[in-house]
Assembly symmetry: D2
């Protein structure tokens, strides 16, 4: 079956598997203190153009978001996020589990609008009751967003400036960062992101790894005893090598960027195929996730041969569906999709 279901439905990139195998029997110290973690840290600092960055590895996105947010916020603070942000709706309340509120802002195509952020912060401090309210203590962005959209450099700079003037850190969730960096429609590099954010993470799980996210603290602002804090959250992997070897491989010879670019190439072809079949887009994104509107009966037919995701109901007879490419998508997958579509009546 051809699958465009998501970007985490295969294992790891073959080069990662090969390195895991090669290093498998070396006795190494645990909890992220092995030489592969150290090497991966060094390469990531270099790729970020940020020699003083502190890099830590965690296992998954929700875990990373909750650990970073809750160990950086003060007791009386919450995190600002778009209402559609991953931390707002799709993490089962992981941030709240740590005792902090997600302060939800309205959004546009999954993105926070700088003007709204500013107006929210101004309003907060103007309110005489703000001692009874949750202080805004951090801004959370996802880039790409849950809709595959991207912040422009200008937008990110504006948000950074607002954060700066309110002295709150800017955190960027890069679960799909590679796909954002390799988009044909972005003006942001990894170095830009490292320069503009106080902390961000480079997603591995959705970009070629079995698991793993690399958190980058860019301003020597890693919370003190962070290892202890992540242990306390059940997030410290005993065999840290599993994360170290993977990120070391991803950041050797630009593998992370190459495989991300491949996914983008596949996504651009996917868009062409969908367009050529006159399938209406709900949101045509510049990254690896595409959202289309399908008639329900037609969708059922398509589902017999192709895997994709239900996103939301569009109206009584139509559904928004998501098609995703990844580092593992092949030209054969696209060709097969093309043929399935050819065999169906018009969408």
């Amino acid at each position: 079956m051809i699958s465009f279901e998501n970007d985490y439905n295969t294992g790891a990139h073959p080069q990662i598997m090969a390195r895991l195998l090669e290093t498998n029997l070396e006795p190494l110290s645990g909890y992220g203190s092995d030489p592969y973690c150290e090497s991966a840290r060094r390469k990531i600092r270099e790729a970020c153009g940020c020699p003083e960055a502190e890099v830590e590895f965690l296992t998954g996105g929700t875990q990373t978001n909750a650990a970073v947010i809750s160990s950086m916020l003060r007791d009386y603070e919450g995190v600002i996020a778009a209402r559609t942000g991953h931390v707002s709706i799709h993490e089962a309340g992981a941030v709240e589990f740590t005792g902090h509120k997600v302060l939800e802002l309205s959004q546009k195509e999954g993105k926070i609008v700088p003007e709204e952020l500013k107006s929210y912060l101004t309003g907060f401090y103007a309110d005489e009751n703000h001692e009874h309210m949750v202080f805004p203590g951090m801004v959370y962005l996802s880039h790409p967003t849950e809709y595959g959209t991207l912040y422009t450099r200008a937008e990110l700079e504006k948000i950074r400036e607002i954060c700066h003037s309110y002295k709150i850190p800017l955190f960027l969730d890069g679960a799909r960062l590679g796909y954002g960096l390799m988009s044909r429609q972005t003006d942001l590099t990894l170095q830009d992101i490292a320069g503009l954010c106080d902390v961000f993470y480079i997603g591995g799980t959705k970009v070629g790894a079995l698991c793993g996210e690399a958190v980058v603290f860019t301003k020597q602002n890693r919370p003190p005893h962070f290892t202890n804090s992540i242990k306390k959250r059940g997030a410290l992997l005993a065999k840290g090598r599993l994360l170290g070897v993977q990120f070391d491989t991803l950041f050797t010879d630009g593998l992370y960027f190459k495989i991300s670019r491949h996914a983008i190439d596949m996504a651009e072809e996917l868009k062409e195929i969908l367009e050529s079949r006159k399938i209406p887009f709900y949101l045509k994104s510049p990254t690896n996730q595409q959202f289309v509107i399908l008639e329900n009966e037609w969708l059922k037919e398509l589902k017999k041969d192709v895997m994709f995701s239900f996103w939301e109901q569009y109206d009584e007879t139509h559904t928004v569906a998501r098609f995703v490419t990844s580092w593992a998508t092949t030209r054969e997958d696209l060709e097969a999709l093309r043929q399935v579509l050819d065999g169906l009546p018009g969408a």
Copy 2:
């Protein structure tokens, strides 16, 4: 200075003070096990027409909301509330501190709209990703709301029915319940509320007590070992008598209702005074809180003689202000306000 600032700026009703004094030196057992607590519980059960109700006393509203919500929700659940609900914005994240999310719905004049609630719940269960989301585990209403508005019986019945069909409890925050019950524009009695809600509280702090809220579990649904749970939250008062004597007094000879009705009478006169001065209303409520729009310079003048609350900025030159009556407001206060207004140029 005349004060319409809020409904908790004086001490307790004189009858309460008298009873506290009379009983002051009696040696009584602690933590809510004294005969005054017992008597108050009996009288409240009777007033609610709910002989099997379980009644517990806590100290303040935020504490009560957090304790009730967090001890009734299951691990994977959150509480639905209006975006303007007290638990959503004015409790400094007290619900989130217990590890649970407040699931915010849009609102109308501070009220949840039954249709939106239904649509939210339907949407939740339709979403294939709902295992990654916070389950809706309770509905929270305030009655009167933060805007002084009231649910009608029909609205409350609809909400109750929706809760029932999704098997989630309905919790009503009655911090100002007395003022709601004695409104001239309500069709809901205390018995109705006890019949429709799974749990609610009868506010004391804002209705004549020094402190104290009486939580009523109407369906023999008090969480097991609730005393232990509230101790764990720092909410168990050693001298429970302080709460028992107050509520026993409030529910003797209908004092709670009488003093609430007085506040409503005062509020009706207040509305007339404000109207007669052509002061535009932002929201003319059926209870003891009234919201008016004041020109900023004029507001400054008024502030010299009258205390009231800033609510929010209306536009660049106007402000929404809140005027509140309570059991302690006197006709002299109103007369004094009238005279101050007479001495000012037209609003």
Copy 3:
């Protein structure tokens, strides 16, 4: 019935009740911003000889312990306490509810032994695994302890020095502080305590108030936005005046000390009465709590006329019982006890 059950079984000292009554109808701003709170803060700073101290009022002991500890600890820290400490066993897990561990030390008559504290801290940092352990981030003492015992000045100085050398704050739970300060066997004054501790509280609930504890941060170390943090914990009283008026009265003309001394006088007489009846002591304390060993059948007889507390089983036929005096104990109570004992066979 004569009661030596505990020190919180009556209401408030009559002078407090009188002041509450006098100020009852004054309109005052809420949440601790009223002039009585301000005056009480000033008087407490003065009594502590600590002009720069920051004073905050909370409602009860468990609440205060949990709020102070959890807002001062960092994410990766826990609080050290004696295994018999109030936070360790009698607060239903209130500290743990905030996400922090109580690190329990063995104890002697309810007190932490300085040498053990030192050895614990040395051991912690010697352990190679300490990144997987809870960092000791504060020392909690109760003074008087749960057994009525007191730290000497020399002991407190040693503990203070240890804390200082490990850079962790010293917190003293003074739920019964007055009774400690007025003990005939103490060499510690309120000023000493303010000088030696980073934060402590002056108990009201057990020393003459209806409720209330005054937290004193002695080193300009009040956590930022502490009001917000206590609101978040449901611990911010709307009518802060209730606490302000009480502490203002307690710290006017040395009332707090006078009534505490009275309780000590009563306790000394109580000890004499018990001794003269040859009742064996389990622990004869220098403060207002006395622990005796009673034969079970004899205890039952005594219980018919006198209220006291079960403490713990001593052996199969004996029980440890606690007798407590307070500011409200009268000479008549003691006389009545004497007569009851006279009427019983030898203990």
Copy 4:
């Protein structure tokens, strides 16, 4: 360098690596819903002789302990554990982070003594203050313990019976379960453990996997919406296949038992080597961890050629050191150790 440092310093068993590689590019659904997880569940149920068991996969031990404990306890409950239990001291407060107390019992060689457990529970319910205490809501054991010791069947049956009579579940932490089951000195089988415990886990991380623990709920007592609860704790792995494939391999043809037995064989030889060198044992365990007392200077020499763990200081001139074998220990490792010891002066 020869390593006896711990049982998680290598990667995964080669058969696991091979299966991961073989299945790497299959598109599979996420979050534990893939066929390998399903197959692993089936095989584990079979191995446990417990057809109705519910099996869930998590990533690591601390995470598993905190997730299982906190989702099974009620609000007012804590978990009983030995003072030396992993949850008590080496998880950085992960249980407390979820708002629950670890109720620590004294221990013997790392084990809870049934009589002490009983006495604790009896004492708790005898205490009149127990409404102010944390209710004992679960018993946590590790088997093997942190000292490598094992419960006998008689001990486990007694503990089970006590739990049963107090209606609290028994949870067994099997991070090293394989090594316990294959010990030459155990009378407990996997089926026995499944029969006696309400919930337990089969450790993968320390027994041949890259990561992963298989939780077995034996009494159809998996907490409702457990997936949601573990997502909320950041513990839900997107590529659940990583856990499924590993456990499927471990439970195919008894691999889990075979590799565990190998580690035991290696441990028995290790004991012989250490004994033959007259190295004094601190604790000679029946499993894969051995504790010896080494003179500090001698230890330094040994460290040049052999990796092992510091356990604790024994006295001023001696140290307790831990030597660990695992599935990956080879006869060559033992031979090399023998030679190093031969080259050193007597211990």
